[in-house]
């Protein structure tokens, strides 16, 4: 079974990020790393291909400056190859434009299954999985906490607030996975060395048959009008226990209408 995993390469969340004051988007100048939330999809893909007794994992990624650092991490985990779309024309792409580009690249790989994270750690839109499904005309299942593939179908336990739904869809399908779906492996040294020589197919917007007008700033249908810093957390109220602390906490929770 061939699985495509959408792998985003993002600025290291451990380093302080910076916004471009003009475009109000995140600066992506330095080295990018594999989004942690995509490591779950990579691991799931590897396990599904392994269970199916054949097939491989192909990564699809869109990143500036021919960036492959994050892809190398996923290749070191065991993915077989990658398609990287890197093109100056992509600068400013919103999530729909990104979905158009990724969908075109995914078609090239002719997968049985596409795995994505539920959302990226830098952008957090969470829109991409459903957009991809719509563009490709394939079924979409979101928030998977467990995936099984049998008889040409993806059987998924879909995380809900109360528990999970059991749903299934014929392949090919797009499934977004939560951080609970599998525990990603650590790349081994052998894996890291092998990743050096795994193929990364670098393509441009034109290579995918798309027009530069459909992507980037030109193709974006959304505009970031303003960015404001998150409100600082206010100091909490400290309840000193003078024998009645539990009553005051219950009162407080009742006020909030949480009990």
């Amino acid at each position: 079974m061939n699985v495509v995993v959408c792998a985003k390469q993002i600025p290291d969340p451990a380093a302080p990020g910076e916004l471009d004051p003009n475009t109000k988007t995140l600066k992506r100048e330095g080295k990018l790393i594999l989004d942690d939330s995509d490591a779950y999809g990579v691991e799931m893909g590897l396990q599904l291909a392994d269970k199916a007794g054949g097939g491989e994992v192909t990564l699809v990624s869109m990143a500036p400056h021919d960036e492959v650092s994050g892809l190398r991490t996923a290749l070191a985990m065991g993915a077989a190859k990658a398609i990287l779309i890197s093109d100056d024309a992509l600068q400013g792409s919103d999530s729909l434009a990104t979905a158009k580009v990724l969908a075109a690249a995914i078609k090239r790989a002719e997968p049985d299954l596409v795995l994505t994270a539920t959302e990226s750690t830098d952008g957090y839109t969470g829109l991409l999985p459903a957009q991809l499904a719509e563009l490709l005309g394939w079924p979409s299942i979101t928030f998977a906490k467990h995936i099984e593939v049998t008889d040409g179908k993806a059987k998924v336990q879909r995380q809900t607030e109360e528990g999970y739904d059991e749903v299934e869809a014929p392949l090919p399908a797009i499934v977004s996975v939560t951080a609970g779906v599998v525990e990603p492996r650590y790349p081994s040294f052998k894996g890291i060395m092998a990743a050096k020589n795994k193929p990364v197919d670098q393509v441009t917007v034109a290579d995918l048959g798309l027009s530069a007008d459909d992507v980037g700033w030109k193709g974006a249908r959304q505009e970031i009008t303003d960015v404001v810093p998150a409100e600082e957390r206010k100091a909490g109220e400290i309840v000193e226990d003078e024998g009645d602390a539990h009553e005051r906490i219950v009162q407080f929770l009742e006020q909030l209408k949480v009990i």
Binding site: A76, Y186, P187, S188, F189, K190, I192, M193
Partner: protein, 381 residues
Amino acid sequence: MQLDLTPEQEDFRKVVRDFAEREIAPYTEEWDRTHTFPVDTVLAMGELGLFGLPFPEEYGGSGADFTTLCLAIEELARVDSSMAITLEAGVGLGANPVFRFGTEEQRQRWLPDLCAGRALGAFGLTEPHGGSDAGATATRATLDGDEWVIDGSKAFITNSGTPITSIITVTAASGPGEISAIVVPAGTPGLVVEPPYRKMGWHASDTHGLVFDGCRVPAENLLGERGQGFRNFLAILDDGRVAIAALAVGLAQACLEQSIAYAKERKAFGGPIGRYQGVAFKCADLAVGVENARALTYKAAWLKDEGRPFKQAAAMAKLYATELAVTATREATQIFGGYGFIDETPVARFYRDAKILEIGEGTSEVQRLVISRELGLPVET
């Protein structure tokens, strides 16, 4: 001149750091307090390929160079010296003698499990009355038909009593003026693994005294040529010294990081204590020391990887890095003040873990002796 690691080495360093921070750091305090050897974590280190790093792929290794092994040891030691020494001893003293001096059959038999970290090997050299006088082996091995009969005792043997210990290589007098190395599988009748030591530090590392009482193993368990046991041991010692230096670098690095963080966060007299030169300069000195120790260590590792002589470089790295580690833990504890004396902070554990580094794999005095001799001085032992 090129002083960068390769991109692959950098990537792997980051993997080991992530592993150490996620799989080891949350538990070190408990392991230290309860003197627990965490078998599952050691097996996970095996799955990561750490125990097979410098060995060829045909035996289940990764074919990495020695420098890469040192990086892994350094990163583990930055979080937990016990796990770092478990790796160092497993590779350097457990698997390495089998790889260096074993026959093809011996390699095929023992190395795959050792490389995968499914099993641990130990090396029984030091004796209760031997210490640095490692040539004065009182343990005897007598050939009786097609079996070696081993009698004697060994002291301070790392990884010798874990649930996954598979083999212990023992040096023993096999004749007048003749020392041989013999592999004793764990569980062999006549091999008594004594209860664990009550150690000052390295609480999660497995260390025992061993007694051999008429312990019989097949003649074919002789490792290397008969009578070459001591010379072979000396050959692997230089590797071990560089690896211990790497462990010391990791520990000192941890002290530096903890000290800086605490000096920024801890407030006294109306501001962070790091604004005082008395604290800031300690951090500055630590940073210089760590840089020096790392440079000496990786220079020695590089010389070994290049196939050049590195005996003196290994002794210098071991001497400097381990003494720096002891200084670093002392200074970090000082910066932490009273909290540095409490086991809730990692620096108290660091302080207890550091001292052994100036002793194991050749004391500081032995390193100075080696360096002096390399300088051409006619030093007496």
